[in-house]
Every structure is written in C-alpha cells, then in structure tokens.
Amino acid sequence: MSRKLKRTFAATKPVASSRRTFLRSTVGGFLALPFLESLAPSTAHAAPGDKKRLLYWFLPNGFFMPAIIPGDTGTGYTLSPSLSPLAPHRDDLLVVSGLSNYGAIAGGEGHDPGTAAFLSCAATNPDFVQNDISVDQIAANTMVGVTPFASLEASMENGSGVGGCGGAVCGYGSNISWVNTTTPRARSATPTALFNRLFGSLNPSLTPEEQTRQRELRLSVLDRAVGHANELMGKLGSADKQKLDHYLTSVRELETQVDSLSTAVCEPGDPPAEDLDFEPRMQAFTDLIVLALQCDLTRVASFMLGNGATNRSYEHIGIPESHHGLSHHGHDPAIHEKLELIDAWNMQHVVGYVIDKLKTTMDDDGNPLFDSTTLYVGSELADGHYHDNFDMLALVAGNSSALNLGQHISTSAAAVADLHLACLESFGVVETSLGHSGTAPLAGVLK
C-alpha cells in the first residue's frame, strides 16, 4: 500500500473514454483512483500489425532443478534433459536461471507466498489479505478500452490447496493474477466458463440494430447499479466503503468491456465439451486463449496448470502419486526420475502445445501470433524439496523482435521482478518497479 508505482509508457496515445458514464460519474476522492488509473493513457498498440501479446503459464510445484537447468549458457546452450522436448523451439526460447523471487522470500517462502508472488513479486501477509498488483494486471490496465477483455484468467483447478492453507488466509496458493493488494482476479476454472465469458453475450440471430439497443440497455443497467453504490457509499463505515469500492470499480470495468465488445468478432466455433480429462482440458483452455488473441478479444492472459502445491497425480504417464508429495523428493533417485518425467511431460504437452498453437495461428497481418506474443513460463518454487524461492528457472518465448531468444542466461540471484519488467517492456509498457524488488528490466533479455 505504501509502495509507489511510477508508471510510464513506451509510447503514449490517449485512449478516449468512450462512454458518457465515465465522464459524468461522481465519486469521491479515493474511490475514483483505481478507475482513473485504469483509464490511464495506453500504449499505441491499436494499429493493425502492431499488436503485442503477453501470456503467463504457471506450472505448480517447482521443477527438479538438476535436470532442468541447462549446463551451459549463452546462445550456444544445450537443452537440459527436462527441456529437451522443446528442441523444435530451442532457438525461440530464452531460458533464465538463478532467479530469486524476493517478494515470495519476504512473504515467508513456500508454495503460497510463491504462488501469490508469482506475478506480483510482493510479500504476502499470512494474517490478512495483502499482496500487490500483478504484472499481468499492470499490462491489462493499459488494455482497458483497447480490447474487449483487458485480460483473461484461467485455471485447471478450483479453490485452494489440500487441508486449508496453513493459516488464516487461504487463496494465496490458487491465485496469480491480482488486481490490487487484496483482490485476485476471478478465474475461469473450466473451458466452458471461459468460452461463455468470451462469447456468451453474442446473439447472432439479432439484427445489428437490435444488438445495439440491447447493449445500450445492458450498459444502462450497469450504470444505474453504479448509481446505487454511489448513494450507498456515504452510509457505510470505512472498511465497508473499501469493499463497495471494489464493486464500483468492477462494474465500471464491465461497462468498458461491454462497450468495446464489437458485434463483429470472429467465429467462436463450438463450445468445448464438458468433463474433459486433464490433457484435453488443458488444450481446450489453450485453444480458447489463443483464439481470443487471434480475435483480438484480449492481449493479456494467465493460465494455471494447477494451484500451488497441487496434489494432482500424473496417472496418465504411470505416476499415481501426488505431484506435491513427490516434489519433496528427499534426495531419492527413484523420485527424481518421476519428477523429471513430470517436468518433461509438462514441457512437451503443456508448453510445447501453446507454442505450437501460437506458431500455427495467424494474426490478421498474416504472421504467426507467436511473433507478437511474449510467453512467460515458470513455477512458484525452484526445487519443491527445499520450498525455495531462489535459484528459480523461467522460460520466455516468442516476440522475437523484442526479445533476445535462443540463449540461456544464468543470473546470480537476479530478481524475477526484473525479468517481469523486461517481458512487460517487450509488450510495450515500461515500469520502473514491481512488487518487492523490481527496479529495471533484466539485462540481456530485451533486444
């Protein structure tokens, strides 16, 4: 709360607030701030062919580090055993090792602080909800009014980790995208939910005039609900006011989203099937997120393969034990082997799948989406056995015009936050701080 984010932008082009509501809204001092912040001048992404995208892929439970960190550095690096399934993409990958998430360390280390700080790099408080805005949401704030959805959030799992979260605050372990210090973004936990979020409001059987009329009425309902909240504000205690302010901000964001949802979007295709197994479900999420990029419904998304400390088992590759249980491997070589198998499977089928999808899906300028997309892949920990948030590994891929791909950068305890700042800048947004420790884009990442 006391942190001051200084925000500047690579290029500025004012985005006009397109709706009367925003101009005539009367809200008191502190209430107006989050919203005005989100209306801040955006970057000049809107020109066709100049769109940048930013994706975050979260793989829980850390990695088995000896098998995943490449042995050599620089452009001549050799893929490690766990990364070898990504061989077709070797020259399109940037492997960064030796990273520290100082926010997670200050927050007490482990799965929950690590997951909550995955994108915020801030220290969480175990007694009451306290994190900070996450890097994807900083990017999303520049997209308000530019794309219908400022960002998408999806997760393969609901709720929080096993047996509660070891403290008063749950939820740290299941949320990586945070709007502000206290509020995580609600996630779509099934492909169907994500599909409905993206395409549910379209009714192609109506005439364009009728669609416009109905959209206006929908906006009016939201606008009047804001009026109710504004009236209520003066009759509440101070803590209640903050809570209601989250409501106000959210309804206004929805207004912006509805307002910019054009009737002419690309074909959504069939809704995904219900009750999909693990791999097809992951693929359905990926397909929808890539489709949303292609249709320019959004340019920012985060995806969680599971909650931090997930107990998911990889039965489909013959590993019935809980992934979290295995991650505390106790230096047992038999378990190391299983962890390596899980990491390699995730690289091939999760990371490989989204990279392939981005490479084979074309943007409206005819280039693969991959060329304009920064994909960040990481975990909440380094080695699950130690619960450490230092010596961590992250992968960055895509967006070749901005990123120095095809190399392994081995850092000496560089801040993850600085890598995030570099990725953010590759998206076109320049920040000078993030969370607990980010100060400047990590050297060597940007071209």
Partner: protein
C-alpha cells in the same frame, strides 16, 4: 538483532533458513524484553508465521491486549501476575485457567530465570514501550478491538451458494446457476462465507450478471396460451420444387401443385413450444380423368407425417380442412413441405394450397408458472391491461419485488430508480416483459442485493451500535439458512421482536426446524468436518492400492458424513457427540468396508465393530479424506484434528523437510519413521502434538478400513500417549482423552461463531466465546442452544466502529 537471534536460536517451529521478518527497530524502553522475545519466542511467533495468532515481533503491541487462551491479557502493564505471557513462560498458565502448553514448548530449553526476570521486571515497571517505532517495511497489524467488544463484520457479499439459495427462495425456482459459474470463493478461517475473503472483482461481477440473466430466463418464462400460427403459401420463405403452376388469373396465394414430377412447396417454420398441435389448411383441387381425388401430403423435416384427400373444388372458394389427429412438435425450427401423395404418372391431377396453420400447444393452460406468477402480481400476458395502464402494473410488480430482493423496506425513491429502467426499455421499443426483466436485473445486480448491507447510522460515532430488526433478520437467515429471510422472519423484524432475547430464541428454534437449515450440514459441517475435502480432487485413493474404492463408495461415504452431521446439528444431540458418537449409516458397499452386515434399508443406522466411539473420526469418509492416495498420513490426520477440533493450527512445516514416507527397499513402520523425525527438536516442537493424535488412527487404512498391519506389512500399534492427558491403546480411547481437553469444547464454539458471523475471531472475542460456551453447555449443549447463544451475543447483535 539478527545476529542475536542466530546465536541464541533455541526455539524453532519453522527451522531451516533464517527468519524472513525484517527485525523491527526497537525503542530503548523495551529493547531488553524484546531481545528475550526474539531469542525464545519470535521464531514461531513472528509476524509472518504468527503461530496461534500471536506475533511477538513488537512486544509493545501486545501490552493490555487480550489472549486467545485466557481471560488474562497477554501483558498487563505493571502487573506480571496478571500477564498471561509470564504464566506461559513460567509454566503456571494452567493455574490461571489458561490452555495450551507451557512456552517454549516441550523439547526446548526453558527461558533461563535471568532472562525471564528481565521480562517480568519490565512489566512490573510499567511495560513501557512508547518509543518503539513501527518498521516501515512491515504493514501494521489490524488494530485490536477492546476486550469484549462486539467487533465488526465488513460489508459481506453473498457467496455463490448464498446467491443460489437466495435466488431460489426469492424467485421460487431451483437455482444452481451461481455455483455453476463462480469458480471457487475465497476462504478464510476455514469457511467460504468470510466477509473479508469473499471478494469482488470484474470476474465476479461478470459472473453475477450471467447468473442473474440465467435465473430470470428461468423465472420469467411467459405463460403459454393456445395460439394459432398461420402461414400463407405466398410467403417468400416458401419455395417450390418440381413442376409448379401459377395460374395467371388467380390471386397470388393460388400456388398450385401439379403432380407430374415430384413436386412440393415448403420452407422453414418456427414452433414456439413443445407440444401437440392441430393442423389446418385451406385448399382446392382437381380430380383426374377417372375421378380420383388429389391427396395432400404433409412432410415434416423430410418425413411423411399425414395425408388428406382434397375435394374437387373451384379455386375461387378454397375449403378449410383439419387433420383429425394432432401432431407433436418440439419447439424450434422445422421444415414443412406440402405435396401431392398420388401416383406420379397421373398427369391431370391438380392441388392448390392457400394457407396452413398449426394451433397449440393443445395442453397450454394460459396460466403463468409459479415463479412468474409470484413476481407478476399483474400480467399483461394474461390479464387485459391497456398500454396506458401497464406502467402502473410495472410499478406494482416492483413494489412487491424490491423489499423481498433487498430484504428490507424500500423507499419510494428506490422504487422509482428501478422503475426508470423499465421505462427506458419501453421507450426504446421493448415490450412489457423486457422492461420488467431489466428492472429486476437491475434490482439483483445492485449492491443492495449482492451484499448483506448493514448501514452505519452515524459514521462519526466510535461506539458500537445495535443492528436494526431487518439487519438481524439477515444475519440470522444467512447463518442458519445461507439464504434470505422468509416472511415470518421479516414480520419479526418489523414488529421489533428480533430486538428481544425471546424473539431471537424463538426464531432460531423455528428456523432450525425448517428444511432450509440443511444449509448448515452442507456449508458448516461440509467445510468444518471435511465433507468437501472428501469430494475434492485432492482425495484420490490410488486404484492399485485400494481396489475396492470406487466413486459410488466415495458418494456413500459422503452420505454417511452428511447423515452424521445432520444428527449432530439438527438432531437433539450434544455437540460433544462429534468427538465420541458411534453413529454409522451404511449401504452395501460401506457395510463391506466396515465389515458388518448391510441393513435392509440403505443408510439406516448400523452398529459397527471397529469404528465405534470415535465420532466423526470413525467415519470412513473422514479417514479417507485425511489420507494420501496410497497410504495413511498420521501427520495429516493429527494436523486435521488439531486444526479443526482443537483450533490449534500447527504452523506450516519448515523448509527442507523430508515428507516422503515409505520409499526405499525396506520401509520401517509409520511410527518408527515419524519417531525418527521427532528426534529433531525443530520438528518435535509441533510433531509432539500432531503425531500422537494421528498415530492412534493407524488401525485404519487410507480408505478407513480396519487393519492389523500397515502397507509395508509391519504390525500396527495404535497405542500412545497424549501429553498431559494420559495413555491410550487405540483411537477410541485417544478421542476419549481429547474430550477432556478444554480446547475441544472451546473450539466447537469458536468455529460455529466464525461461521455464524462470517468473520474471523480476535483476542477481543475471547470473553464472548467463553460466555457462549458456558451458557450453551448449561442449557444442554446442543447445536440449537449454541446457535441461540451466539445469536444472543453482542457480537451478533451489534456492529462496532470500523
């Protein structure tokens, strides 16, 4: 400070790496006692781990602050004898009525007298710490409330379950729409109804809107009346195939169908509802040379559905025909074709159709569904209401709806603000239903519906204020029903009886008899007693290890837990039965698991042999939910009991611990493996409390079956000792010992209190919780009595300053 900590590090629950807390800058006045805290206490009681909810990183912040274990404050300035921390340090905490262990815990060196003297001297001298600054990097802890203060509940959004239950009661439908859309609510203090954790973001408001759209679709479906739907053949949606003759002299409708080649005329039609429809058409025809009459064939979606002979009639005056049998149609688009059924070689035959119509659905009653009738106190779809009077009808509908939706009386201005949405819709060309629908949508998307709003009558007043009757009605209904107040509760709010002890008690007892009180089983027991844990994807018994486990068995286990919880919460049973009851409810599969004969009626109460007198923890569902996929986990079971039945949540394990058990060639028994890790004093500090509880359950495998030997063939030994409580030979005896621990009784109250209020507890709540415990035990100790005593407390009836 950090170097002192490193050299004096004797106490540790979180071992491993140095503590992450930035050490506060300590003012001179309390530097010495702070150093004692830092040396012996802070590694567990740090700001970030705050074991047992206590942080001692800034000793000045706990002066004259209540303890969660005792009626004594943690530190009473000027009086060491009245300072609970001193008693904890000296081991005399039990003498002054406190609970828990002496500190530092068993297995660690006690604080040397020279150091404890520093601490007591400082307290005796006034416990001054006024120069202690707050470190900038540490956010301040929430301000403590005065001891015994009612506290406050922050503006509480209805969680997904409450939204569904409220919409179901409000709209007379069965809504699952919110639960289907919200992807998990925030939880705190063990429940997902916590006002602070149930948050609000763009995604939540999108989800709320989608939910409201969906329920209004269900609730407002227009009444179905029998209508005729007529199509003229000249409508451009129809076209002909084969040879079609249009006689120039006749009007446009006169589309003849001459049979020569296969010829039909048809196209798509829309059918509004499922049901039986009668079919009529107007036609004329011309017979052939032999006097054979033309026959009309009706094809629906390509299949012949009916034929009918048409008379030889001049086409200036077509005749109307009707099929004798009605036709069943589903709602939606159908392709209809009309053609000649006669011999295709017959060249002379002529047939022409003017129009056709379907009438139905024939079973339509013309009355609205109960959900619509409930909202539409007047309905232009049924009643004859002029356009000019429809505005009045809309107002009547909103006047009746709004106080129910907002669960309080509403003002004229509030009704106007909703009616304005209706008017806007009508002005833009919408019909009556659309206007009402949008007005209702606004009412439901408004913060007055989505939140439990408790107004602050005077935001400048720093004293707690009493809730009004309607606010009490809402607190009671969301506690006991997870839903809105019913008419009777609203009446009790209006006549003031909810502001009296008798009125509250009468309503609580009435509400617990209502079917809506099942929400307590689903939500309170569901979360507290591990039922949701059983259904969650983390409970995943391995097929190879437990071949008898199946999804139907999991459901049966859940049903048994549900029936057990219902007995405790809604039956006339003491709450302590949770710990020691012998209730079992089994079907065939569960009977096999328990090794007993199945009852003739599934889930009838059934005595078991090995699972008696263990209460909740004797249920197969609980034993399964607290196991790992392939084996039991005494640590998970012990931790669960401590956290949920004693309200003593152990801190998370330190870094670099080995939690993998049973790997390698020749694993020793679980007991031996756990003893090994307790040899490490850092582990022992918590596991001395966890493991003896969990090991008592080793007589039951990962799906709750009684067993003599463990997964590795070692004989099971379920005996042990609970520190300070005595020795036990099996789980039932261990549970019996636990019953004697005062923390268990306290925990029952605390958990229910947290759920009832939707907020966590702090030190200021200790006297309130103690009072509630004493009163409900004196009155029979049932859940009903506990609910009454909670509802009668100031914490429930008042709201403190924020």
């Amino acid at each position: 400070m950090r170097s002192l900590l490193a050299t004096l590090m004797l106490v540790g629950c979180s071992g491993g790496s140095p503590t992450d807390d930035t050490a506060p800058v300590v003012g001179e006045a309390c530097a010495e006692p702070q150093a004692v805290m830092d040396a012996y206490c802070v590694q567990c009681h740090s700001q970030s781990s705050a074991t047992a909810g206590l942080s001692l990183t800034q000793i000045g912040t706990v002066v004259d602050v209540a303890s969660s274990q005792s009626t004594l404050p943690l530190i009473t300035a000027g009086s060491p004898d009245d300072s609970y921390l001193v008693h904890k340090m000296l081991g005399t905490h039990g003498v002054v009525g406190g609970t828990g262990s002496a500190m530092p815990p068993p297995g660690f060196d006690a604080v040397p007298e020279s150091d404890s003297q520093v601490f007591t001297d400082w307290i005796a001298a006034g416990a001054s710490c006024d120069t202690q600054p707050i470190d900038d990097d540490l956010d301040p802890l929430p301000p403590w409330e005065p001891v015994g203060a009612p506290g406050y509940v922050v503006l509480r959004r209805l969680n997904a379950d409450m939204v569904d239950r409220t919409l179901s009661d409000l709209l007379l439908i069965e809504s699952h729409e919110a639960r289907a859309r919200f992807s998990g609510e925030g939880e705190a203090f063990g429940f997902d109804n916590n006002a602070g954790a149930v948050n609000m973001s763009l995604g939540h408001i999108e989800t709320a809107e989608a939910t409201i759209d969906a329920v209004l679709d269900i609730a407002l479906v227009p009444p179905v009346t029998i209508e005729s739907y007529r199509w003229e053949m000249e409508d451009p949606i129809f076209s002909g195939t084969g040879t079609e003759v249009h006689y120039g002299a006749y009007p446009d409708w006169y589309y003849g169908i001459r049979w020569y080649f296969t010829a039909t005329r048809g196209g798509p039609i829309q059918v509004p509802y499922d049901g039986e429809y009668s079919f009529n058409f107007a036609s004329c025809g011309q017979d052939d040379a032999e006097g054979n009459l033309p026959e009309l064939q009706l094809l629906l979606d390509g299949s012949p559905t009916a034929t009918m002979v048409v008379d030889d009639i001049e086409c200036t005056d077509p005749t109307e025909y009707m099929l004798t049998d009605p036709i069943y149609l589903t709602a939606g688009e159908h392709n209809i074709e009309l053609g000649l059924a006669n011999d295709p070689t017959n060249d002379d035959m002529r047939l022409s159709v003017d129009w056709f119509q379907f009438t139905g659905p024939l079973d339509a009653t013309g009355t609205a569904e109960p959900s619509r009738a409930n909202i539409f106190v007047c309905d232009p779809a049924i009643d004859d209401i002029d356009d000019t009077d429809q505005g009045d009808c809309a107002r009547d509908i909103i006047e009746a709806f709004l106080p129910r939706a907002w669960r309080r009386p509403v003002t004229e201005a509030e009704i106007d603000s909703i009616l304005a949405m209706y008017t806007e819709s009508r002005d833009s060309g919408g019909d009556f239903d659309e206007g009402i629908r949008l007005a209702l949508k606004l009412a439901l998307l408004s913060p007055h519906f989505l939140f439990v709003v408790e107004l602050d009558p005077d935001t400048t007043d720093t004293d707690p204020h009493a809730l009004n009757g309607y606010e009490m009605a809402n607190r009671l209904s969301y506690f006991l029903w997870s839903s809105m107040p019913d008419d009777e509760l609203m009446a009790a709010a209006e006549d003031g009886s909810l502001l009296t002890d008798e009125g509250i008690e009468a309503q609580v007892n009435r509400m617990l008899l209502d079917p809506r009180a099942q929400s307590l089983v689903d939500n309170l027991a569901g979360q507290w007693w591990g039922m949701r844990l059983l259904l969650g994807e983390h409970t995943n018994p391995d097929e190879a290890t437990f071949p008898t486990f199946s999804e139907t068995l999991r459901e049966a286990m859940h049903e048994e837990m549900r029936l057990f919880s219902e007995q405790i919460l809604l039956g006339d049973r003491p709450m302590s039965d949770v710990l020691t009851a012998s209730d079992h409810y089994v079907d065939d599969e569960l009977a096999t698991l328990y090794g007993v004969t199945a009852p003739s009626t599934p889930f009838a109460p059934t005595p078991t042999t090995d699972h008696e007198e263990m209460g909740l923890t004797g249920l197969a569902g609980w034993l399964t939910a607290t196991s790992k996929p392939e084996r039991t986990s005494p640590v998970v079971r012990g931790d669960w009991v401590l956290s949920n039945l004693l309200c003593e949540e152990p801190p998370p394990p330190p870094d670099d611990v080995i939690t993998v058990i049973g790997e390698g060639d020749n694993p020793s028994s679980m007991r031996e493996q756990l003893e090994l890790h307790r040899a490490n004093p850092v582990c022992a500090s918590c596991h001395d409390a966890i493991d003896p509880i969990g090991l008592a359950y080793e007589g039951f495998d990962g799906i709750g079956q009684a067993r003599e030997s463990d997964a590795w063939g070692n004989p099971v030994d379920p005996s042990g000792e609970l520190l300070g409580l005595g020795e036990y030979s099996n789980a039932a005896e261990m549970v019996g010992l636990l019953e004697g621990d005062p923390r268990v009784g306290r925990c029952m109250v605390q958990k229910t209190f947290i759920y009832a209020l939707g907020r966590g507890t702090g030190p200021h709540d200790v006297p309130t919780i103690q009072d509630i415990e004493a009163s409900y035990l004196a009155n029979g100790g049932t859940f009903a009595e506990l609910a009454v005593q909670i509802a009668l407390s100031d914490a429930f009836r008042m709201e403190g300053p924020q």
